[in-house]
């Protein structure tokens, strides 16, 4: 990756983080922790990886698909979609408000660019597998991506879906897991320890790559691995080590910031930190 490309991605991501904070502050509720930990993945996915996206034609038949299985972090997805031009960035201020197309959890029939309504955990990988199976059945060159949390994988259906995808050799399916180590009730290892995740997913017949989910070189490498798996019959899992609340010092690694919005003071501080980070990237 060229330094220019990396800088471009970092700027997109820091602006998306600002948009997350702005929209959550305006909404007065929502989920910042996982939105911020997933932003770098979503940034790369939407700006570099997914093919045939057209903000003017969000349901273009041959586009690659993305399913946000952990639907509660939609402020992150909405920020990225807005910055990609699917809808005006000012819409982000209407998050969770009556009449807004930006629901508290994603609605595919309201928000341009959302490929599936989600929110109830554990279901997205199954639906993504259905899309991948459908693309193969129809002979279409479509890649399907999905993002889960690490708390989410305690849902048994995730494992039903992993088995299904391996059984049907869905190598056009790439599932990322945002392993930030925290969930509502505390540390994932304390609430329900799912480790070793890599060995478990591997045992289900997937090719597993572990990366730093905030490093664009790593993210690029992971998607290259996915491309290498096309045609082999193996689906790809990207296990992303991430920091919950990444980019806002007082939110980082705090389970308490899973699902609450910043107040005015916290908003000012978060924005000041992100503005400084943006300036630093610009001047680098």
């Amino acid at each position: 990756m060229t330094p220019e490309k990396k800088k471009e991605l970092q700027l997109f991501a820091v602006r998306a983080r600002k948009n997350v904070i702005v929209s959550l502050h305006a909404a007065g509720s929502g989920h910042p922790g996982g939105s911020l930990s997933s932003i770098d993945y979503l940034t790369y996915l939407y700006t570099e990886e997914m093919r045939n996206l057209d903000p003017k034609d969000p349901r273009k038949a041959d586009r690659d698909r993305f399913v946000l299985s952990k639907g509660h972090i939609c402020p992150g997805l909405y920020a990225v979609l807005a910055q990609c031009g699917f809808f005006p960035e000012k819409d982000l201020l209407t998050l969770r408000q009556p009449g807004s197309h930006l629901q508290g959890h994603p609605n595919m029939n309201l928000t341009p660019g959302v490929d599936l309504s989600t929110g109830s955990l554990g279901q997205g990988v199954s639906a993504a597998a259905g899309m991948a199976k459908g693309a193969k059945y129809l002979g279409q060159d479509i890649h399907v991506f999905a993002l889960t949390g690490d708390g989410e994988i305690a849902e048994g259906q995730i494992w039903e879906a992993l088995a299904f995808a391996a059984h049907y050799k869905l190598d056009n399916l790439c599932v990322a897991m945002d392993i930030n180590g925290l969930q509502i009730d505390g540390a994932t290892k304390d609430v329900m320890n799912m480790e070793p995740i890599d060995k478990k997913v591997e045992a289900f017949g997937w090719d597993v790559i572990k990366i730093n989910g905030h490093d664009f070189d790593d993210i690029e490498k992971a998607f290259e691995r996915f491309h290498a798996n096309l045609g082999t019959g193996k689906p790809t899992a990207i296990l992303m080590n991430t920091v919950k609340g990444k980019g806002v010092s007082f939110m980082e690694n705090q389970a308490g910031w899973h699902g609450k919005a910043p107040n005015d003071k916290e908003f000012e501080q978060a924005m000041a930190e992100l503005d400084a980070a943006e300036k630093e990237i610009e001047e680098a």
């Binding site: 698909r65 599936l116 309504s117 199954s126 259905g130």
Partner: protein, 310 residues
């Protein structure tokens, strides 16, 4: 009725899928290790590459069907009613119902007539569960001809559909030229003394009850209400006005199903006495299907008795 042809509607489903598959290449079929029982195995035999067995994982199957539908396919997902409407309820509600996806949930082995398998498999709650999901079409055919036409009608309409097919062989009373329409009741017998509104395997039994009543000089109107949602309000209100009393008959808990749908409508729009013949809010048990049905009052004798009890 010894010489009447009898076919289980699950057989009709399997046969209809094969016919449908021949004319609609968007149709794909999913099953959860029950293809032999749900009769999707008939489709699998004809179109092996269009039948996806998901193993014993109904939640996953339901959401896989949702994903397939977003690609422009028309998935028919099958398992027993208990698992289709029960186990996977929340997948149906959130990932099919909420986005109004074009998935056809075709469940078999609904109701008490599962017989010897007992209460764990006798799903008497599926109509209720599915009716409460906004935008869901809920149906239950009364014979082979209606079942097959219903499958085609489901494929032709856009949106989620739940159909309950039965396990046991039941009389075929429709001619092949019968025209099925979603949301339209079929008047099988005219009468104004009492209206009997039934669906599924209980329609033929309701007709028997009407014949018994006729022998006593009571003319019962019999409606086949194959579509539970959207309910044919017009036919129900017409029956309420012209007959003045209604008996509903279904192989379902008296809570949540056809009986309750009829009660809700008449209470608001044309209050008349309604008696619900069905499973009286309890679990079933193992036994021969006909015996278990009779025990819960789902017999021609009891329907006639209830019709006279107003």
């Amino acid at each position: 009725m010894a010489d009447v042809k009898k076919i289980a509607t699950r057989e009709s489903y399997g046969n209809a899928l094969v016919e449908l598959g021949a004319v609609n290449d968007k149709v794909v079929v999913l099953d959860a290790d029950l293809a032999g029982a749900t009769k999707t195995s008939t489709f699998k035999k004809a179109y092996p590459d269009r039948h996806f067995n998901c193993g014993i994982a109904e939640a996953n199957m339901t959401d896989v069907a949702a994903g397939l539908s977003t690609m422009g396919l028309i998935p028919f997902a099958s398992t027993f009613a208990m698992f289709s409407a029960g186990r996977a309820y929340e997948m149906v509600r959130n990932t099919i119902g909420y986005p109004h996806l074009n998935v056809k949930l075709c469940a078999t082995h609904g109701g008490l007539s599962v017989g010897p398998d007992g209460a764990s498999h006798q799903c008497n709650e599926d109509f209720g569960l599915m009716r409460t999901i906004p935008g869901m079409t809920v149906m239950c055919p009364s014979d082979d001809v209606e079942a097959r036409k219903m499958v085609f009608a489901a494929a032709e309409m856009e949106g989620p559909v739940y159909i309950r097919f039965g396990r046991s062989a039941i009389p075929v009373y429709h001619d092949e030229d019968f025209k099925f329409e979603i949301g339209k009741a079929e008047t099988l017998r005219e009468g104004t003394d009492v209206a009997i509104i039934a669906n599924g395997i209980m329609v033929s039994v309701a007709m028997e009850a009407a014949e018994k009543l006729a022998a006593e000089g009571i003319q019962a109107r019999v409606l086949n209400m194959a579509t539970i949602k959207p309910l044919d309000n017009e036919a129900v209100l017409k029956a309420a006005k012209e007959c003045g009393k209604i008996v509903t008959v279904e192989e379902h808990n008296i809570i949540g199903g056809l009986g309750e749908a009829v009660c809700s409508l008449t209470a608001e729009c044309c209050p008349v006495p309604v008696k619900r013949v069905g499973v009286p809010d309890c679990f079933g048990h193992s036994g021969d299907a006909d015996q278990v049905l009779a025990e819960f009052g789902l017999s021609a004798e009891n329907i006639a008795k209830v019709a006279k009890s107003f």
